[in-house]
Symmetry: C2
Subunit: 323 residues, 2 copies
């Protein structure tokens, strides 16, 4: 369905609009871990997350008629900002449906990119229904957060960069760990690495209570999270893997890693201290999986994707001053 060719074409298409983010390394952390740990800092991407990649690719592929009718998206925040900026860069109107309890910084930034924000109650309303209704009323195109071939191909461009940057560092990566919710990034990157670095094992990372991908991979079919779970990882609270993304994950991902909120807080603190990175909780889950030794770095070359940095100051201040 999505091929390496699609990802390569996406890379050309989005190149003028997205940052080739750095692959960072800390000598002191490497010494402590006894191996080499690389952090792909997508928190530095414009809009503060990788989501701009897929959104830009999707919107660039719209027809002129579709562009004129505008786009609509629903998102807990990072996809919202990605779609808002991608739409602005292509002179397309955007309406974004966001949960009223999303981090203030994500709502504010979405509006600052020129999008119209419609808030909904996460507990009583369906964002899919609201999004579909707006799309129908206005004739606008829905930009889904992950279950879309153009979105998957766009996110996969991060995988091309990781393979290229690892090669420049003279390294063959043993493992790549990816923060996962709907699976758009994980599926795209695992496709890219299957082509460019077939020796590399790809893993998803999820917060406790939202480990649907790990359990689905183990079960061989899509299973959902129990309702009522809580996590500080606001970007990763979806109920189940995607219909399009899951078959790709089953084929290309070695397994799913799970961490708790304390692991995530420690990873955010280490990212601040060692890499001078601002990571949001959901963006630190893959790093947390490594630092809590879900995979051992000893004698190995391991990369994690730090997927986002959109975190409110109060939470970040609390976390970096924690134990």
């Amino acid at each position: 369905m999505v091929t390496i060719k699609d990802i390569e074409q996406a890379a050309d298409r989005i190149a003028p609009h997205v940052l080739k983010t750095p692959l960072l390394e800390s000598e002191t952390l490497n010494a402590r871990l006894g191996g080499r740990l690389f952090v792909k800092a997508e928190s530095l991407q414009k809009t503060g997350s990788f989501k701009l990649r897929g959104a830009t690719n999707r919107i660039a592929c719209l027809s002129e008629t579709e562009k004129a009718r505008g786009v609509v998206a629903y998102s807990s925040g990072n996809h919202a900002q990605g779609v808002a900026l991608a739409a602005k860069l292509h002179h397309v109107n955007a309406v974004i449906v966001m949960p009223s309890d999303a981090p203030k910084v994500k709502i504010a930034n979405t509006e600052r990119h020129g999008a119209e924000v419609v808030l909904y109650d996460r507990n009583t309303e369906s964002r899919e229904e609201i999004g579909a209704e707006i799309a129908e009323q206005r004739g606008s195109v829905l930009i889904p957060p992950y279950d879309d071939a153009h979105i998957i191909a766009g996110q996969g461009t991060a995988g091309l960069e990781i393979a290229e940057q690892a090669e420049e560092s003279g390294v063959i990566l043993d493992d790549v760990v990816i923060c996962c919710s709907g699976g758009g990034l994980s599926s795209g990157v695992s496709l890219a690495l299957a082509d460019r670095s077939p020796e590399t094992a790809v893993w998803t990372a999820e917060p406790e209570g939202f480990d649907d991908t790990a359990r689905s991979l183990a079960a061989g079919r899509r299973v959902s999270n129990k309702p009522g779970a809580k996590s500080i990882c606001d970007a990763l609270l979806l109920p189940a893997p995607g219909a399009l993304t899951f078959p790709i994950l089953i084929e290309h991902v070695a397994g799913g890693l799970v961490v708790d909120d304390d692991d995530v807080r420690r990873a955010m603190k280490i990212a601040f201290e060692e890499f001078k990175l601002v990571l949001e909780p959901g963006g630190a889950v893959a790093l947390a999986a490594i630092l809590s030794r879900r995979i051992d770095v000893l004698g190995r070359n391991v990369a994690v994707i730090a997927t986002g940095g959109n975190v409110d100051a109060a939470l970040f201040a609390e976390v970096i001053q924690g134990r």
Copy 2:
């Protein structure tokens, strides 16, 4: 004395050890400023500051006999970490003389890079004397923080990267603003840009009370700061421009910009919000000069170097939650 050739050779020499840091841009901040603002994120450099560039070039140029005798350096922190890691990467012993009131994170990281740290009292002791004494006792080579041709050439490599990255973005930079203390980075980068981007005006930025470079540039001769001034910019508290660096600054720098600690705090907060960067106070001075409109970005292309990110968590937490 230092030529573009020296900087080019330094770039080749240090390439295996240093990160080519990204040149970041924020669409929302650009919209607010009415121009394009680029941030060269040297805070992401290994050891958390640009200082690794010069230190690596200096130590790579030592003879085998000199390497065997080890190196000594004095520094408020960032040069310390740069020398410590550069020495480790070249299998050279390092002794670092640091003020006892330096940020804890800088002292701890210097030790973690394997260097021996000797603390001194900033008010009653001379770090130059202590450094010279150790160098004499042990026969080790002193690695000065800025007044050295190899150090200047090493720091200048950041200027080559800025010119190259601006060209990739299709931009001719009108201005580049650089956080300045002894002038090693400012002199090296201004030399590099004079060759690669002669249309660009280069400016130094300093904190109030430590504006020796601005006043020296205005006076046409080296003048010193009055003792007793205070600033949160712990990395930029030197009394006067260097003997080697100042003649280069006089030739290639348009002028010196000065900001106060409140400007610096606001810039650190904006760097957190818009760029997801952790900047230390001294690393945010150039950004502060832009955000407080010492130079107008309206209709222009301006780059600042964010020189470092080694800041204690308590101070960073306070600053990002400020007004």
